[in-house]
Symmetry: C2
């Protein structure tokens, strides 16, 4: 038997996070079983884990070995989560570990005893059954800890520059740019010589990014931030942006400043605005207010939702594999992640831990060690 973390939302609005005993899986020919050594708690795990419950509202129940964390989900959001009512759902987007059992295929057998990185859900568990061809072998010299966060942030950041190139842009804008993801994107752009305009909300975030070599950092708290942003856009030529915030005026302001930057070089009159396509992708939902686009952006613009998984499906298996391999090759440099706490599966259910990692604050990141710290 192996332990799995589960999140269960009842139709009554009661949320129960618990550990269940699952039978040890036997791999099919092309499958392996991985002992999960390290798996992070990302902001993108919190929706499934906490079901929009207030992270500070959890109560402990159960026993020390089989703890349970209980909370009430706000009544107004319970109906919107109907599709998950009364289902005990596994959690955890990514992780790394050691292959302990392997199916009969040569590809599966070749992985036996190897350290591998994985993605695809159900990682908050002592063991994860997975197809052999979905495992990435961790380079010699790297620990499971180094590879645990190999997918969500690294592949998202790398896919942003990949999207930029595929859609014909040469530089990009990123908001909430001091996040772990933002710092990683800054390292990619510095390494690859890509112009990056970092947008942050506070002076200390700007300092952090500048200390890491960022050339263009705009603070939305500055009174003249629109003018600063337009200057940075004119200097870099950035015409695509990735926005983590989603709601409010910022996506529209970025388009407005892009159009103004382009029109500085415009020749002649065009009643439809510039012909250069300007694109903002919203990949996060930090602000749930409506997104507002002012109408001074011309006609050549787009705003759209953006998610990693559909993007990788569009570019196909071969290009996806190329991006994954680059992450493996630069695990401890470009794609390095840091953690503030390491906990067991039981430790992840401690109400005090939930209150801390549930804030999804930059610089505060938990790593689960399902088989002991």
């Amino acid at each position: 038997m192996t332990l799995q973390l589960r999140s269960l939302l009842k139709s009554t609005g009661d949320l129960e996070i618990s550990l269940v005993d699952a039978p040890a899986a036997e791999p099919q020919a092309d499958e392996v079983v991985v002992r999960v050594d390290a798996t992070p708690i990302n902001p993108s795990d919190l929706g499934l884990l906490l079901a929009l419950a207030d992270p500070t509202s959890f109560q402990a129940a159960g026993t020390p070995e089989r703890p349970v964390a209980l909370a009430r989900v706000p009544e107004k959001v319970v109906p919107g989560l109907k599709a998950r009512w009364d289902q005990s759902l596994p959690v955890g987007n990514e992780g790394a570990g050691t292959v302990v059992r392997a199916g009969s295929s040569p590809q599966a057998q070749a992985l036996l005893g190897k350290a591998v990185a994985m993605a695809g859900g159900s990682m908050y568990a002592q063991e994860r059954l997975i197809r052999a061809d979905q495992c990435m072998v961790i380079p010699a010299g790297c620990m499971a800890r180094d590879a645990a966060s190999w997918y969500v942030n690294p592949m998202t950041a790398l896919s942003m520059t990949e999207t930029m190139r595929r859609e014909g842009h040469t530089a990009l804008v990123h908001t909430a740019a001091a996040s772990n993801l933002g710092q990683m994107l800054n390292r990619i752009c510095l390494k690859d010589g890509i112009g990056l305009v970092n947008i942050v909300r506070r002076a200390e975030q700007a300092e952090l990014l500048k200390s890491q070599g960022a050339q263009h950092v705009i603070n939305t708290s500055d009174a003249d931030f629109m003018a600063q942003l337009t200057d940075a856009l004119a200097e870099t030529g950035a015409t695509i942006a990735f926005d983590a915030i989603g709601g409010g005026k910022l996506p529209g302001q970025i388009l407005t400043c892009m159009e103004a930057a382009i029109n500085r070089k415009a020749q002649g009159y065009s009643r439809y605005g510039s012909e250069v396509h300007k694109q903002v992708y919203l990949y996060g939902n930090l602000d749930r207010m409506p997104t507002e686009i002012a109408r001074n952006v011309g006609m050549a613009w787009g705003v759209a939702g953006w998610l990693l998984t559909p993007f990788l499906q569009r570019i196909g298996r071969e290009d996806t594999q190329r991006l994954k391999q680059r992450v493996m090759d630069e695990l401890t440099t470009t794609f390095k992640s840091g953690y503030t706490q390491e906990v067991t599966l039981a430790g992840a259910l401690d109400p005090k831990a939930i209150a801390t990692y549930g804030k999804a604050a930059t610089g505060e990141k938990y790593l689960i060690r399902p088989n002991g710290v």
Copy 2:
């Protein structure tokens, strides 16, 4: 010498619409000169013609043969029009006429004496020099009057269904659907068997479209219009919309209802919303307020500006020609246009006429006859 209509905005904010004498053009080998017999005043001509001046504020000047129309452009919009200051600009997006002189190439000579349709600006004139391969020969039995509005509305409406197919959708939504363009789109969709959800603002507009065979007409003035819209979207499966209004909440409301219609059939829980891509294209600017997108639309969505010319450039010459030929083939049926007034070039400068056509009201359309009515 031939007469041309010109619009001149001075840096002082003074706008002068006048008629100028231009020397008769001599065609190069691959060019022809067309006597313009009929050219419409479209809403899309008004920006260039009136430079955002109040249509009811024009004063007559000049002589009866060379009239001038004068107005003041509002001070706050003059700086935004700097790129056109002090330039005497020709006007008129589309028209039809007779080839009166032709260059030496066989293609140009073959057009001599033929009735042709044209697009590309500078149509408010007695003669238009144009490349022979840009002329569409008008079918026998059609008048210049039938072909004058062959491009802007017909090609836009046809390009909407073409965009729908190319981007993988099977039905579409149109707002301001009782417009001349909207009625034309309704005829295309009825003929081609395409599901169309028409959105209007008033009951009489709904009646007009229903009298023309429209099956789905939603009135935004109805209290339950979101519920009605969701039903119509579920019935038609429409996941793309073309919106003429641009600003305000309607583009976002369409996305919200599309997501709700899709989720009626959803199986299982997805924290990112449906995987079906929902798209709204804004092709007009009837409302200059910011566009607002609520955040209950999942992640698979996009909003973007849309213009006919860049679309035709993207699809290329051959497909563009196919669309143009379909318009020619159905000039007096699917793509029929009506006019409420016919005027000379001088008549188009009459302040009373400007006050009428300047409103761009549905059902009120002027046709210019540059060589006499």
